[in-house]
């Protein structure tokens, strides 16, 4: 009796120990290392005549901007290279031609000397026109070079006074260069038109728009934007997809950007070895005014045109992007099939087709296309499932009931058999 109880308890302890032993253990993964170039920011400040207005905390807009700049310059992270550009700071005259070229870099993009930068800002006085478009172009040139992230922080209190060059178009062109440049805009006590223009500039480059009514809001936001530039971010590589799979660029794992027009599709090719899993995600940005309903389709197609798997998404309303993704695990090659085991020939070429169903009102420009962001990953294939349940294991009271009943029946049968056996032996 005691022995039996011990046996049962022992079995249970064993079971408990087993279950505890089965608890998953942590898997350590190496920290990714990055050796990226210095992030660059150019603060672009409007110094036009309207900055004299005294409507921010009782001070003039210029004074608020200067105070904010001083605070920001003090707080710039060491790794960030900061430059300062002005617009409308030097030409006080009435000649529109001259006034619209009035943009100057007062502190070059580079390692920051805080005192010098502050001195440069201190001398500014509200003067001339508001040439936002030319200033953005010049600022983009200032930030050229290097691999790090780039950002223009535009601070203005009025709309561009230098038509017909639309600053929003300029911003879109800058973004289309594929140099990973973002424009964040801040409007000082903005009116409706200014707000619209600044929002448009921000939207075109994937930046943000903020309306500022107080000095502390201004310095907080600019500091935040400068800090954001220093944050680690994956930098994509520009590529150009083709209309046909046969002409498509071969992509390796990584992050890519492209441009795709309304109603256009693009093909890319990826080589997938047996036993590997292809993971692809695509995001198409809505960088301009688009119609309310839209969608994206990502298809993995064989070279012969058979669809393997697709990802699709549709949406409506205000959005920055629409994205989808897919996973294609290529089965492990059978042993008898891979005769030419040189690796290359066994790889399958998968065509990735990215199409969009964005549309826009007729007034919206079609060129350049919408920004496409494509990520490609190749990892080892999954452990394929052989059953619906984990390892084919069971679960639930029905399982216990069935097993108990089976045990009981087997026990009864065994008991009767041995009883019959005994009886038979005794008669003999």
């Amino acid at each position: 009796m005691i022995f039996r109880r011990r046996l049962v308890t022992g079995a249970c302890t064993l079971l408990a120990a087993l279950t505890l032993g089965l608890v998953p253990t942590g898997v350590a993964t190496a920290e990714p290392t990055s050796d990226k170039d210095a992030p660059k920011v150019e603060l672009t400040l409007d110094v036009s005549g309207s900055m004299r207005k005294r409507d921010i905390d009782g001070k003039s807009r210029m004074a608020a901007a200067k105070q904010a700049f001083n605070e920001v310059i003090d707080a710039v992270p060491d790794e960030v290279q900061l430059g300062i550009r002005t617009l409308g700071a030097h030409y006080p005259g009435e000649d529109r031609q001259v006034g619209c070229k009035d943009t100057r870099q007062i502190y070059p993009v580079g390692p920051l000397d805080r005192t010098e930068a502050k001195t440069a800002v201190a001398t500014l006085a509200p003067t001339g026109w508001t040439p936002i478009g030319p200033a953005l172009m010049a600022a983009a040139d200032d930030l050229e070079g290097g691999e790090g992230s780039r950002r223009i922080v535009l601070i203005t209190d009025g709309e561009d006074t230098c038509a017909p060059l639309d600053p929003c178009e300029v911003a879109r062109e800058i973004a289309a260069k594929g140099i990973n440049l973002t424009v964040d805009t801040l409007g000082l006590v903005p009116d409706a038109k200014t707000r619209e223009q600044l929002s448009c500039i921000a939207e075109a480059t994937g930046g943000t728009y903020t309306s500022v009514r107080r000095t502390d809001e201004l310095s907080d936001r600019v500091s935040q934007l400068v800090d954001r530039t220093a944050d680690p971010i994956a930098v994509p590589v520009a590529t150009e997809g083709a209309q046909q799979c046969s002409e498509a660029p071969r992509l390796r794992p990584g992050l890519y950007t492209d441009r795709e027009k309304f109603g256009q599709h693009r093909f890319y090719r990826v080589d997938v070895a047996p036993g590997q899993e292809l993971r692809a995600s695509v995001s198409i940005g809505a960088d301009r005014a688009v119609d309310n309903d839209y969608g994206v389709l990502l298809r993995a197609v064989t070279v012969h045109g058979r669809e393997i798997v697709r990802g699709s998404e549709a949406g409506d309303g205000r959005t920055d992007l629409i994205s989808t993704g897919l996973r294609y695990p290529k089965a492990q090659a059978d042993d008898d099939e891979d005769e030419d085991e040189d690796g290359e020939s066994a790889k399958e070429t998968v065509c990735l087709q990215v199409s969009n169903s964005f549309s826009a009102p007729a007034s919206v420009k079609r060129e350049p296309g919408l920004p496409v962001e494509l990520t490609i990953d190749l990892v080892d294939g999954p452990d394929e499932a052989s059953d619906v349940a984990s390892f084919g294991l069971g679960r639930g009271w029905w399982l216990l009931g069935v097993l108990a009943l089976t045990g009981l029946l087997a026990g009864l049968l065994w008991g009767w058999l041995s009883r019959w056996n005994d009886a038979a032996r005794r008669t003999n």
Partner: protein, 279 residues
Amino acid sequence: MRLTRMMAIAVLSCAAALTFTGTAVADTPSPDAGDSSAGPTRAGTGFRDAPAVPPGQSATASASSGDYLYWAFPVDAGQRATMKAKVTLPESSARHGEATWRIDVYDGLRRRQPCMYGMQSRVAAQDAESVELSCTVRTVHSLADPWSDHPLPGSYYLRLTVTDAPEKDLGLPVRAQVEATTKNAGGAHAVDGALSTPLVPGASVEDGQNEKDDGEPSPSATRQTASATVEPEDGWSSGWWSDRWVWTVAGGVLTLLFGLGGYRLARGPARPSRIPPGA
């Protein structure tokens, strides 16, 4: 009589042992919901720069209404995540009408994931001080068909934005706080098979496959992981533990016990057959 008592004791002690281990297992991976220690104090503006929020922590960010704010949370197999966001709205005097706020959840493949329940979108009245949103995504399985968009282990992105507001109200300062709580769904959701690596962007880089292919590594591969990824508290699960083991082993034990019981019942009182009755 003695037999039944013995079996009862055995079953009870077994059940106790199993319950103990079961709870011990279930408790460890789920983060403490009450402890919302400070996580990141910023938000990303896209998938690429979304800051990773460690489990059980909450992230805060100050932003402008109209910004698209992104965060990334790690969710492992067998977990059901609930993403919560609270937005402190700008002063009502500065606003001109009601605004619709919304959260969207995307998985590591940037596929939008539906919310099983929760207020994913809410209209904030003009005089409202804050708006709270939540979204519970489907329980994450360790593997699914490539044709299915069922959630798989990996990073989950939360996007918070205003989808409808008066034009004048865009660009005003707001504060957002987000957190994700996870609950273990148990073995009922334990499916067979597992991904080789969780759906985390840039996973292929760690495999070193780029260098292996032909000398030159792909240019952006090294950068794709730059945005910090974070793991669940105990790392990504290897995927082979589930309480199905407990149930199945318990079933085996039960079979054995009932088998013995049935045997005793059918065999009659245990008595050496050599000894004659009454001796």
